[in-house]
Structures are given as structure tokens and as C-alpha cells.
Amino acid sequence: MLSNSWHTDPGPPSPWSRVALSSAASNSEITEQPHNKGLRWKLSLWRAILSTALGERLVYRGDFALGTLMRFLPIVTQIFLWYAVFDSIEAANGGNIEDIEIRGFRFPDIVAYYLLTMVARAFSSMPSLASGIATEIRNGEIKRYLIQPIDLIGFLLLTRIAHKLAYYAVAILPFALVFFLCRHYFVAGWPPWPVLVAFTVSLVLGFLIGFFLEAAIGMIGFWFLEVSSLLFVFMLFNFFLSGHMFPLTMLPDNIATLVNLLPFKYLAYFPAAVFLGKIPEEDLPMELAIEACWLIFFIVVCRIAYARGVKRYSGYGG
């Protein structure tokens, strides 16, 4: 169905093959369409996409707010688990539970860490982005991006930004509530402003890395028909290696070094660690620069995969 090579088929042109796209060619044709020029046109297009996606998302705001609150529930069990761990360390070694540290994390830090990873995940997680791309490739919907003057990745990015904005508009209330209730776990209070700036930058970069990483994985759909199992495996790795499950510093040293070299940590661990001051302030610019390099890497990978995939792809039917 998808990579069936129409180009090599010398048979007579059927009514179907009329619309079959030798996509690379038609793509470059499309970008030269006369109306696809000028910044104003682009801006109005972006605004249209943004406002549609915003409206679409705000329809279910009640469901949203409730769903967001519920998403904190698994953290509750994690908090109790870690309290039990610290409690037994206290009972075994003596001392005050507030002073016990595991790899630089005291009990309140761990709670704050989990809460902050929720914020980081709110930026970096891209529900159904990769699977959406794979589905569109499989059922042929992707060809609308090949014949319309819209770039697939740009369109998806804008839609995602709009969805995220709508999400934050609603989710800020439950988040604020939970953070207010848990404010005493943030022992150090607000970090100094350079750290806050770095935190914000890391969140935005985390969003972009998450987007391009998932989009690149979705592009695998050009090569394989069914990617859901693969996506699940990726999700598992992501969950573990991003630090969503526990602070990455708790890994044994040699594994921690390795995991620190991977880009997954930017999706959850890194922003939280920045906020909690676990990364020395003087290292922050360098760390952010490395993160930016990873972002560029994923943008390039995503673009190459898309360009190559489109070359393989052939669509049939209207």
C-alpha cells in the first residue's frame, strides 16, 4: 500500500495513478506556487493553524483539568514509597529524616523533583505525535501535505504549540494548586533568577527536543507499516532514561555517566535538576549549549528522515 513502487510500474495509467504522487517532484513544485510567498501570508497561515488548534483543545477543558489533577496521583504513591525508604534509613542509622541524603536528594527534594518532572513532562511529552504521523503515512492522509502548500513538520509543530498553550491555560490551575499545597517540600524556596532563566530555557528546549525526537520516530512509519510496538519500547526507555521514574543521579556511577550522555534526560531530569540547583550555576551555559546541539541534531534527523521518506512514499486514490 505505501511503498508500492508506482514509478517502476510501466502499466497503463489507471484513474488511480493520476493522483499518485512522485512526491519529491511535486513537493518542490508546490513550494514554488505563487501564493506561498511573503511573511504576511506565512504569519496569517500560522495564526489560522494556531487558533484552530486552540479552539479544538479548549472544547474539553473540564475533562482536561480533571485529567491533569489525576495525573498527580501516581506521584502520591512514589512519595509514600520514598518516605518509607527514608524512614527506614532513619530507623537503621539514626539521625533526623530531614538530614538524610541519597545522592544529594533529601526527602523533600525527591518530592519536589517528582513535581518538577511533571512540569518538564508537560512541556516535553508529545502524546500521539509519533503514532499520529505513522498512522497518517499508513492510511495515506499524509499526501495532503504533499499537495497543499503546508509543510508537515511545521504544521505539526504549530498545532502542537497551540495544543500545549491551550493545555497550560487550563492546567495551570491544578498545577498551581498542587504546587501550593506542596510548597513546603521546596525547602530552598525560589532559585536565583539566572537559574530560573536556565530552567525556563531548558523547558522550552525540552519541548522542542521532545517534538523533533518523536517526529523523527514517527517518520519510521515510512519504512515500517506497524510501529506501535516500537513506539511502546521507545516510551519505556523514555520513561526510565528521562528520569521520570527516579532522579538519574541515583543510578550506579558508570551507568549514570552513560545515561547523562543521552538526550533523554532533557525531557524530565534536566529541568528539574536545574530548578533544584543540582547543576552548578557555572555549568549551566555549557549544559544548555549541549542541549541546543541535541536539538539541532534532532531537527536535522527529522528533516532528513522526512525528505527520504517522502521519496519512498507513493499515495493512491483521492
Partner: protein, 289 residues
């Protein structure tokens, strides 16, 4: 269903075996997918085991004086794995399909069949790949039991009685989970869509994953009470795991009461879920075209 003729009683066991066979054939048709699913389940298990091993690098037990040291805690984890894999293999795919049946009106055909509707919608599909987690749980249990029996300090081998009770109470745990799932999916008859319900299921059962003692302090007490007596998910894993991991003979009255309550709770959950399911069916208005 009232219209079921008395003389024509279907052989439930045979029907179940047919379902199991069909599902196996279906799973084996997409063999690569099946293998990938097994691998990803095992991956999930390994990640969890890794996480708990990391925790036990820093502490001897989970909770002071709770007795959940590394080996016993891994027996607990194995129990969680047994119960979850059974639920995921037998009930999860059906509950997912059930809401789809309601949305599309396909439930009409289930209602027409001369067999108990709850049985039909609960067992139709079996996800064989989820049983790979059962095997994973088995491996964890064997390793934990071996380590528990051979360690220098406080070694322990469970008695035959506790093993038997363990199996029985795993059954009870599965029954409680099943009841909860039926209740949740029956509500999709009333609500139409149940995306949040699945999250709800996940978030509630999440509480059953750890020893119940850890909730029993401070602001966890209401949670402890609620999930023991109202929605008894804390009993699901805790009761069998305790029976296996802790010696039976010097047992406190509290523990005995808990075991008894688990029996009662299982019975009540099944009854309540049956009632909820029947009530929900009464409100079913087919999705006409």
C-alpha cells in the same frame, strides 16, 4: 438475560476454551508483533526491577520495622506481576473492547447470544502476550525465594499451607481487580466515552503496587482506609504477598482479620460488580444507525 431458554444451557468452560484458542490463533497470525509485545513487557519488568534494586542500594527495608526487606519485597513485586499479568491477559482487552461495543452498538449482538452477557464480554479476547509477564513474575519469585531461603540472617522457606493460601488469595486479588474493571467499564454505558476511566483504572491500581504499611501514617491514613475498605485495591497484592513472605504461625490478630476481610471483600466486590453491570445493561440504548 431473561429470554434465555432453560433447556439450552451453554457449556461455559468449552466456550471459554474456544475463546482462548481463537485468541491464540489471532495472536500467532501476527507473530512478530506478538514477540515484540512480549519483549516490551519484559523490558518494563526489567526497568522496574532495576528501579527497586537501586532503591535497595540505599536502604535495607521499605518502611521502618515493616519487614519488607529486599527478598520479601521482590516476592511482593512478583505477586503484583502475577495478578497484573492475569488481569491484563484475560480482562483488559475485553474491557477495552466493551466500550467500543457500546459506542458502535455491537453490544446488541452480544445481548442476543444465548449466553450470559457478562461472561461473553469479559472473556471473549485473551491477550496471550501479557502472560509473558506472568513468567517474568515467576522468575522474580523463584530468585527471591531462593535468596530468602539461603541468606545467613533470618532465612525463611514458606510452608505448603502458605503456598496454597497464596494461590487462593492471588485468585481473590484477580477477582477484586476484575470487579473493579467491570464496574469502570460498565459506567461507559452511562457516560458514552471512557478515556479518563482507563486513566482512572491505572491510577487506582497504582496504589496496590506497594506494601500497604507505607500509607499508614500522616495524611496517608484516609487513603489507607479508603483503599482497604471502600475500594479494596490494597488487599489485592498485600494479602497474598504477606501470606507467602511472612511466617504464618506467629500471626497477629490484625493480620488474621485482614485475611478474613480479603475473603469478604472479594465476595462483595464480585457481587457489586455483577449488580452494577446488570444495572448498566438496563440503561443500554443501542447505537442505531
Amino acid at each position: 438475560m431473561k429470554t434465555k431458554p432453560e433447556s439450552h444451557r451453554p457449556n461455559y468452560w468449552e466456550v471459554f476454551l474456544t475463546f482462548a484458542r481463537n485468541s491464540l490463533v489471532r495472536d500467532m497470525t501476527f507473530r512478530t508483533n506478538f514477540v515484540l509485545q512480549c519483549i516490551s513487557s519484559i523490558g518494563w519488568t526489567l526497568m522496574n526491577v532495576g528501579f527497586y534494586l537501586i532503591i535497595f542500594q540505599y536502604t535495607q527495608t521499605i518502611g521502618a520495622d515493616s519487614g519488607w526487606d529486599r527478598d520479601k519485597f521482590f516476592l511482593f513485586i512478583a505477586t503484583t506481576w502475577f495478578i497484573n499479568s492475569l488481569v491484563q491477559a484475560f480482562f483488559m482487552p475485553n474491557a477495552e473492547e466493551f466500550s467500543e461495543l457500546i459506542r458502535t452498538g455491537g453490544l446488541d449482538f452480544a445481548l442476543l447470544k444465548p449466553i450470559d452477557t457478562q461472561f461473553l464480554v469479559s472473556f471473549r479476547r485473551i491477550d496471550w502476550s501479557a502472560l509473558s509477564n506472568f513468567l517474568a513474575g515467576f522468575v522474580i519469585a523463584i530468585v527471591a525465594l531462593h535468596s530468602l531461603a539461603n541468606r545467613p540472617v533470618d532465612p525463611m522457606t514458606p510452608t505448603v499451607l502458605s503456598l496454597l493460601l497464596y494461590i487462593v488469595f492471588i485468585g481473590c486479588g484477580v477477582a477484586i481487580m476484575y470487579s473493579l474493571m467491570i464496574c469502570l467499564s460498565a459506567t461507559s454505558i452511562w457516560l458514552g466515552r471512557n478515556q479518563t476511566l482507563y486513566n482512572f483504572w491505572f491510577y487506582i491500581t497504582n496504589f496496590s503496587r506497594y506494601p500497604m504499611e507505607i500509607y499508614n501514617h500522616g495524611w496517608g491514613k484516609p487513603l489507607y482506609g479508603f483503599f482497604t475498605f471502600v475500594v479494596p485495591v490494597l488487599l489485592v497484592v498485600n494479602v497474598p504477598a504477606r501470606l507467602l513472605a511472612k511466617p504464618i504461625s506467629p500471626q497477629t490478630w490484625d493480620e488474621r482479620l485482614l485475611v478474613c476481610w480479603a475473603v469478604v471483600a472479594t465476595f462483595l466486590s464480585v457481587r457489586v460488580s455483577r449488580w452494577v453491570f446488570k444495572r448498566a445493561l438496563l440503561s443500554y440504548r443501542s447505537a442505531s444507525s
